[in-house]
């Protein structure tokens, strides 16, 4: 609590004590009035002064003004205890709101504690401590174990493990050595390293992430826009409704002015839309904070709202559903043994740096004696021809062998196949596969459970391997052989059927990401293009984050809807009841403050860690309804 908050708390406690004493023990009317008025003054003076100032600066529809009018009205009606109590509870509500928001702010800041205050830079052989903003590109910084990396760069000297969890949510540390890229926000956990910086602080990963979260309120959701519009109209409307309630029955029907004035004052007490205005953005922001802790950056509440409505999710295959790297899955030899087949293929491919060649060489694993190879020719789009130990080797597509009049049986296992001929006869093929990520099937299943109806996989790859991966991970539909523009077209078709999300690597998929309702980029750590193109950025490679994000969005929207319904329901309920004659001011302020407290607590649930829900948290939604009913019953 800040000093101001504590001061307000003492005032509230004092005034509550005075009110209780005077109501229960004091019999003398004058003394009682005096005590109640002083209690009112203790808590209300600030509000009254502020209200007066605002009236002079013509900000008429302000909650402080309305609250002042309501309580002064109560004093005029000689309802001293009500006036004091309303003001006390109003202040209590304000205090709670300020403490709760402060607390949420701190926990969000804690979640996002990525920035370091100081970094050690090496200048002229000396280690100097400076703020990250004071380091320029190309300087060398020293990061000792336990320290957070301040700026993005390349390791110059040393090797160590780095904890990337605050960036990616991944718990397994990364081993990095000289020449590897390091990103700001990673924590060095092993041994000191020297890093050559590649960016200034404002362009570093940390600065970008923080900026993204801070400016996320720019992309406001429909609900937030509604609340903003509503709150602007609500207070003036209630004010005029109160005025009408006070005047019309008296003027038109000759009823007692004092009775209707009392009822009108109840209106003023519930005139502040605070519960909504605070709890709705708080829910969204809490969700954004909680997601960023998991390495998922959501660019704005707009996308949370849209994501909660998504019914179709399309995935890119290579690198998203699959690992994006080929590995040998089958060696099928004719006439020679498998080892020999692998050896000659590895030799033939040894001058190539194509991903397929690299994975065959990796699978072979032994040193390649380059003097055994001669006359290497790359036949574009088909494969390679080379001479090994004086004999001609062809490795590549089936077409390459057919072109050389060598027949080889067709393999229809799916995957990518390298056919090999040795000394003018077919010797077999090597099958390579880009395997699905370990948790891909599970993640897609989780996605289905979170309410996604249709999962589609899009790929530029061939039919066979696409179908195989699709079946393995449980996609409902697979489209293969797509060019980037075909992907856009497919996604546009899907959008006609329902709200569509697309998950890709963010680099090759930029056009698709820009035309879809919600675009996810995966494995985005260090890739500006991905962060730029996507609406939701998943820093690590974990597919399960998509389902988590969907679940989070649904939970957020549920809380937002609960809060809207609860706040409006209670406020309108109080107004209707007061017209009907249940004009109890205590009840009104209890309902107003109570509903605000419940709504704020409800939205603070978003900041709790996922799944680790305490029983208290689980009880809150039902507690909402119960306390709401209780408030209404007891006091109205």
């Amino acid at each position: 609590m800040t000093r101001r908050q504590r001061k307000n708390l003492y005032k509230i406690l004092l005034s509550v004590a005075v009110i209780l004493v005077s109501v229960i023990f004091v019999k003398n009317e004058y003394v009682k009035t005096l005590l109640l008025c002083s209690a009112y003054a203790v808590v209300g003076l600030d509000v009254l002064c502020s209200a007066l100032r605002k009236i002079f600066s013509r900000q008429l529809f302000d909650e402080e003004i309305l609250m002042s009018v309501a309580t002064v009205g109560a004093l005029v009606l000689h309802e001293f205890s009500e006036a004091a109590m309303v003001m006390t509870l109003y202040q209590l509500g304000e205090l709670f709101q300020s403490v709760a928001v402060g607390k949420s702010r701190n926990s969000i800041k804690e979640l996002m504690k990525l920035k370091v205050d100081f970094a050690t830079v090496i200048r002229d052989g000396k280690e100097i401590k400076v703020i990250p903003e004071g380091i320029s590109k190309g300087e060398t910084i020293l990061v000792i174990p336990g320290e957070k990396v301040a700026l993005d760069g390349i390791i110059e000297e040393g090797e160590s493990s780095f904890d990337t969890s605050s960036l990616t949510g991944e718990s397994v540390p990364r081993e990095l050595k000289a020449g590897d890229h390091v990103f700001s926000g990673m924590i060095n956990i092993q041994s000191p390293v020297k890093i050559k910086t590649e960016s200034v602080y404002t362009e570093s990963t940390v600065a970008k992430i923080l900026n993204l979260v801070e400016t996320s309120s720019f992309y406001k959701s429909q609900s937030e826009k509604f609340i903003t519009k509503f709150s602007r109209k609500y207070t003036p409307c209630v004010f005029f409704a109160a005025l009408a309630t006070a005047i019309i029955p008296t003027l038109l029907f000759g009823q007692s002015f004092l009775i209707w004035l009392r009822r009108a004052l109840v209106f003023l007490i519930v005139s502040c839309p605070c519960a909504l205005v605070i709890s709705v953005p708080l829910s969204f922001f809490g969700a954004i904070g909680a997601a960023s802790k998991q390495g998922v950056l959501i660019k704005g509440s707009e996308y949370i709202e849209t994501l909660s409505k998504v019914s179709i999710v399309a995935f890119d295959k290579t690198g998203t559903v699959t690992k994006g790297e080929f590995s040998v899955s089958k060696i099928s030899a004719l006439d020679v043994n498998e080892e020999k087949l692998l050896e000659i293929t590895a030799y033939a491919e040894s001058f190539s740096n194509h991903p397929i060649a690299l994975s065959i060489i990796k699978e072979y694993g032994k040193e390649i004696q380059k003097e055994r190879i001669k006359n290497v020719v790359t036949i574009h789009g088909k494969g390679i021809s080379a001479e090994i130990d004086g004999k001609k080797v062809l490795a590549g597509s089936r077409q390459l062998l057919i072109d050389n009049e060598i027949h080889i049986p067709y393999n229809d296992d799916g995957g990518t196949c390298v056919y090999v001929a040795y000394d003018n006869s077919a010797v077999g093929f090597i099958l390579l596969e880009d395997k699905a990520k370990k948790n891909a099937a599970k993640s897609l299943q989780a996605l289905k459970q979170s309410g996604i109806k249709h999962i589609v996989m899009l790929t530029g790859d061939n039919e066979n391997s696409a179908q195989k991966v699709g079946k393995e991970v449980g996609a409902d539909e697979v489209y293969s052989g797509l060019l980037p523009q075909d992907k856009v077209e497919k996604v546009l078709q899907m959008k006609e059927k329902g709200v569509t999300a697309f998950v890709g690597d963010g680099i090759n998929d930029a056009p698709v990401l820009s035309c879809v309702d919600v675009g996810f980029a995966m494995g985005a750590l260090g890739s500006d293009a991905a962060v730029e193109a996507a609406d939701i950025v998943i820093m690590n490679d974990d597919l399960s984050a998509v389902a988590d994000a969907v679940t989070l969005s649904k939970k957020t929207m549920k809380i937002v809807r609960q809060n809207i319904a609860l706040s409006l329901g209670v406020k309108f309920g109080v107004m209707i009841l007061s017209i009907l004659g249940f004009d109890n001011m205590y009840a009104a302020i209890f309902a107003d403050v109570g509903v605000m407290i419940i709504a704020v607590l409800n939205s603070m649930r978003m900041m709790k860690k996922k799944r680790a829900a305490s029983p208290f948290v689980a009880l809150l939604p039902s507690a909402n309804t119960v306390s709401c009913v209780l408030i209404l019953r007891k006091f109205l």
């Binding site: 502020s50 900000q59 909650e63 709101q97 800041k109 801070e214 400016t215 903003t228 602007r232 605070i278």
Partner: protein
């Protein structure tokens, strides 16, 4: 040019909205965003004008929230 500030003592979200609107209306301010939850203010304006604009922001803020403070980050 964009500058970021930390604001303090804004307790109510309605007030934050009002202050944001008031800041947007200040002469020379191209865009302004007040993040109530993080209590940060982002203002875009010409560099030469910032000194005057800062003063006006404080004035506008104090009109709604008595204890409004502006701090550079």
């Amino acid at each position: 040019m964009i500058k970021k500030y930390e604001v303090s003592e804004i307790d109510c979200a309605v007030c934050a909205g009002k202050i944001e609107d008031a800041i947007k209306k200040i002469d020379g301010v191209k865009s302004a965003m007040l993040n109530f939850i993080m209590q940060t203010l982002t203002v875009e304006a010409d560099e030469a004008e910032f000194e005057r604009i800062e003063k006006e922001i404080i004035k506008a803020g104090r009109k709604t929230e008595r204890n409004f403070e502006l701090k550079k980050i």
